[in-house]
Each structure stands twice: as C-alpha cells, then as structure tokens.
C-alpha cells in the first residue's frame, strides 16, 4: 500500500512537470505579448520603457531559464504574483475556485444522478419510446459544444422568457458583499444547468449499455428462473452491477467537467476559475495561467484516483488486482 501511494505521488509530480512545461511552451509561443497586454493596447511604450519592463519581468532571459525560475519557486510553495490582479496567484485562485467548485459540484451531482437514472430507464425500456427519447437526447447533447448550449439557454431562458439574468454571479453594480443568497442562486441556475445537461449524456449512454449487458446476462436469466420479479432483479443485481462503472466514469469525468466549466463560465461571465483562466490567457498573465493549469491537473488527477478507489471498493474483482 505505501508503495502504491509513493508511486501515485511520483506519477502526479511527473504529470505536473509535464503539464506545466507544455503550458509554458504554449504561452511562450502565443502571439499575445504579455507586456502589451499588461499596459493595454492604446498605450504606446517607448523602446526604453519596453526593455525595462522586459528586464523587470525577466522576459529577456531564455525561456528554459524562465521556466526553471518559476518551477523553483513553485517547489517552495510560491505560485508567484498575478500580473493582471497584482496580488498573489494563490489568493486569486482561492477566491475564484469556490465559485467554480459550487458550479461543478452541483453539475456533477445532478448529471450523475439524472444520467444514471435515465440510463437505467433506457436499458429497461430498450427499443421503446423512453429509450429512444433518452438516446436521442444523449446523442444530441454529446454532439453539442458546451458554449453553444450555454448561448441557447441564455437566448431562451434569459432573453425570451426573462426567467434568469444574462450573466454574472450577482446583479450588476451591486457590491459582492451585498448580494443576497437568493440572487446568487438565481445567477447560478443557468450555468449549472448548462454543465449538467451536457454531463447527463455521457453517463446515461454508458449506463444504458452496462445495464443492457447486465439484463442480458446469465445471472439475470437465472434470477428470472428463480422467480425474482423485475423490481427484485434491479435491486439484487441491476444496481449492484452497473453502479461501479457509473461512479467510476463520473469521477473520471472531472476533466470534461473542468473544461466545460471554463466554457460555461465564459459564456455566462460567471466569475469562477474557468473565466479567470480565459482572462489570464488573453491577458498574458503567465503566473496565474500556470497556477490554474496546475490546479486543474491536480483536480483531474484526484478525480481519477477517487475513481480507482471507489471502483475497488465496489468491485471485489478489482480489489484483488489492486
């Protein structure tokens, strides 16, 4: 067991090194000039000022040296200072991550529960109307980009029906401290709904397949021959044999959830980690961008580890191999 943990931590370390190096390379080669993005497009710098800023930020040094300098301070626990917000990256992330976590958590739970339920329903009614409806929904949604769905929801629910605000986490012009809980929820609904709606498709289709296999299995045929009713078959065998793959999948889904939240938050101008990531990329804020990238890598990695643990807990055949 300790060996397993060490191995996992080692894997996480190499993952983070790889991800950050790749992200750094991409930023370094991006057409966005961090200094120009910092001072704004309409400010003209003299060459001397420009060179001074380059030297101040260390941009005149070779890229490998820049990366190593950054990596060195990361190891000491220092994420650096955001060039956009002028405060430590850790503080920016801390304030934004909460909002994203709520969004992703709700979407994760909703899509998991609803997706599993729909998948089971489709498998039980395979070939009938309910199955076709669930399949149609899932195929449509999984071929729909999150940002597009977000825009459709905005057009329908905010613009046409006027049920929900167009964006942000609270009413425009009201200080964050004065936004009521009800207002927060009101602003929260559409982004959460967008993320959930997309997530449902994945889990529903996988559960449908798994449950169909289970219902066609020898042990379910035997259960029928033993006089178990359809309800008993679901309770005794159906959930037991389809839950582990569903839960595993849902934890492994963390990565898509994170990617989805980036898009959904941007569409809804929702001040979470995702929209901050977009800002950081467009504003040339390298420390903030890399910080968020690292965090998201840890987040996804954690999801996968939990998936493995849960899978082993639910399936004794996996436990033996682990």
């Amino acid at each position: 067991m300790p060996k397993l943990i060490v191995l996992r931590l080692l894997r996480l370390a190499t993952l983070l090194a790889g991800v950050s190096a790749l992200a750094f390379t991409l930023v370094h080669n991006s057409p966005i000039d961090p200094i120009q993005a910092y001072v704004g497009a309409d400010v003209n710098l003299t060459d001397a000022q420009y060179a001074a800023l380059r030297e101040h930020w260390g941009l005149d040094r070779p890229p490998v040296e820049q990366y190593l300098a950054w990596a060195g301070s990361i190891i000491q626990g220092d994420l650096g200072v955001s060039t956009l917000y002028k405060i430590p990256v850790a503080d920016v992330i801390a304030t934004r991550f909460g909002a994203s976590l709520a969004l992703m958590g709700v979407a994760w739970l909703l899509s998991g529960l609803l997706g599993y339920a729909l998948g089971v329903l489709a498998a039980i009614r395979r070939g009938r109307f309910a199955d076709r409806a669930v399949s149609w929904y899932s195929y449509t949604l999984s071929s729909t980009p999150t940002f597009w769905l977000g825009i459709v929801f905005l057009v329908v629910f905010s613009v046409w029906l006027g049920w929900f605000p167009v964006g942000l986490a609270g009413p425009y012009g009201v200080p964050a401290a004065e936004v009521t809980f009800a207002e927060r929820v009101h602003h929260f609904v559409l982004p959460a709904l967008t993320l959930s709606a997309v997530g449902v498709a994945n889990i529903a289709m996988h559960t449908r397949e798994k449950m169909t296999d289970v219902l066609n299995s020898d042990y379910v045929a035997f259960a029928r021959a033993r006089g178990e009713s359809p309800g008993q078959i679901l309770r005794n065998h159906g959930f037991r044999n389809s839950a582990a793959p569903a839960v595993t999948l849902q934890f492994a889904y963390f990565s898509e959830l994170f990617g989805g939240s980036v898009l959904a938050e941007t569409v809804f101008s929702y001040p979470g980690l995702g929209s901050t990531l977009t800002e950081a990329a467009l504003g040339g804020d390298v420390p903030l961008l890399l910080g968020i990238v690292l965090l998201s890598a840890v987040f996804v990695f954690t999801g996968n580890v939990i998936a493995d643990i849960v899978n082993a807990a639910l399936d004794p055949r996996v436990r033996r191999r682990a």
Partner: protein, 267 residues
C-alpha cells in the same frame, strides 16, 4: 400412477428472425414435444448441442429469448404454467440448476445468493443448513464467485435450488467440465433430491451420466423427441434400445470407455 408433476404436450418453440429487409422467417426450435416427469423420478433428456434440450428448460421456466414463439401445453401439477402462475411457483416449487457458473451474480457474496427467495426470518439458518449439506464451509458464504472453484460454485448452484417446497428440479447440463469424482457427486445430489420425492428433469449430453442416474431417457434430435428409452436398455452393444438413433449414440461412445459388457459403471 398419480398425476405427473410435469406434463409437456405438443410443445413447439420457434424463433422469428429477420431474413431480408423486413421479411421474417420462422426457425423451428422444438417441434411437437411430449413428455412427463413423475414424483420422485429422474428423467434424462439426452441430445447434442442444438437438439433443443436447453430450449425445453427455458420454455418451462419462461425465460426464452424475446423473439421466441411457443405453442402446445405445459402442465405443472395438473394446471397450466401461465406467466402469472410462474411468478408464484418459480423458485418455490420449480427450481433450476443452470448450466454455467456465470449464472451467479459476480458482485454478490454466494451466501446472499443462496438466501434469495427464502423467508428473511429463516434465510440465514436455511443457508447454513444448505451449506452443510453441500459440504461448503460456512466462511465461504461471504466469498464472491470469482474466489471459488468450479466445483464449489456447482454446489452453490445446487444450494440455491433446494427449497423445502420444491416439487420439480430442472438441471441443465450440471456435469460438463467436472472430473469423474465431481460428476459422481453431482449425480448423487440429484438422486438425493429424487429420493425426497422431487421430480428431476436432467438435461445432458453425457450418456453415461444420464444412464447412471435416470430411470427413463428421452433422446432429442433437431427439436424432436426421437425416442423414449429405459436406462437399462443402454447396455452391451445396445441391442435392447428401441430406436436406431439411440443405438448409434450409444455405440459412438469411445470404445475405451466400455468395460467388457458395459455393465460395471452403470450397475
């Protein structure tokens, strides 16, 4: 003679398949099958793969594939086995010992699988008794199927089928893949069931197993009952067998399986 426990008459099973486009064709599975099993009797149904013997079991239990059509009549203790009646008698009066150990739920401890269908108040006590009867240690109850040997899983399957109220046991190929000793054990368990008054329908392609345990042997080929022989007739060169197909089957056994006169193992 008293009323048979199971009486099958004129049973037809066929499958509807899509041929070309939307045209369907019907593939026969079983045609015009008649047989009866009495209380305390073991009737062996003998046939090769594809002869329809497993379909017979599935038809009685009502677990045929969805595209199957059935005709004819199946009487259990004198009245028709309708779907409604099946929900009352399956697992209580009729039990099934399936062919494959994959019939056990891979994610449920075997003890819990034996308890299914038992009255919750006595389930654990009955489970212990059944485990003792089939020579399974008590701690095995908490194990999952993948942790047990094939022989142990067969015994677990037997334990799932034995209920005080059972009148008919349908055993589908309970012997293949087992070594001689284990086969003998399975057959002994079937004999015990019959002695306690249960009617046993043993479906098998193992002639020696069928002959050594049954009184009558029904031989099936291509969905039809070819002949009903007495087990005693499977002896010597098979001259006492009434139907040439049964004689062929008997004579096709590898010669080295015979002892001189062919009586030693079936006496």
């Amino acid at each position: 003679m008293s009323e048979p426990v199971l009486a099958v008459s004129g049973l037809d099973v066929s499958f509807v398949q899509y041929a070309k486009g939307l045209r369907t064709r019907t593939v026969p599975g079983i045609t015009g099958l008649d047989l009866e099993v009495a209380e305390g009797e073991i009737l062996a149904v003998l046939g090769a793969s594809g002869s329809g013997k497993t379909l017979l079991a599935q038809a009685i239990l009502g677990i045929l594939p969805h595209n199957a059509r059935t005709g004819g009549e199946i009487l259990f203790r004198g009245s028709r086995l309708t779907p409604a009646r099946r929900t009352r008698v399956l697992g209580r009066e009729i039990s099934y010992i399936p062919q494959s150990v994959t019939s056990l739920d891979p994610l449920m401890p075997v003890g819990a699988q034996v308890r299914i269908g038992l009255d919750a108040a006595v389930a654990e006590r009955v489970r212990r008794r059944l485990f003792a009867r089939y020579d399974l240690q008590d701690h095995v109850a908490g194990r999952y199927p993948h942790q047990l040997s094939g022989g142990m899983l067969r015994r677990v399957l037997f334990a799932t089928s034995v209920r005080d109220t059972v009148r008919l046991v349908i055993a589908d190929e309970p012997t293949p893949g087992l070594h001689a000793e284990a086969v003998e054990e399975v057959l002994r368990h079937l004999r015990e069931l019959a002695v306690s008054g249960v009617a046993v329908l043993l479906i098998t392609h193992d002639i020696r197993a069928a002959v050594s345990v049954a009184r009558r042997v029904a031989v099936m080929r291509e969905g039809r009952l070819v002949t009903m022989e007495t087990a005693d007739a499977f002896t010597g060169d098979g001259a006492e067998l009434r139907h040439p197909f049964a004689r062929d089957l008997w004579r096709a056994l590898p010669q080295n399986q015979f002892s001189p006169g062919g009586t030693e193992w079936h006496s």
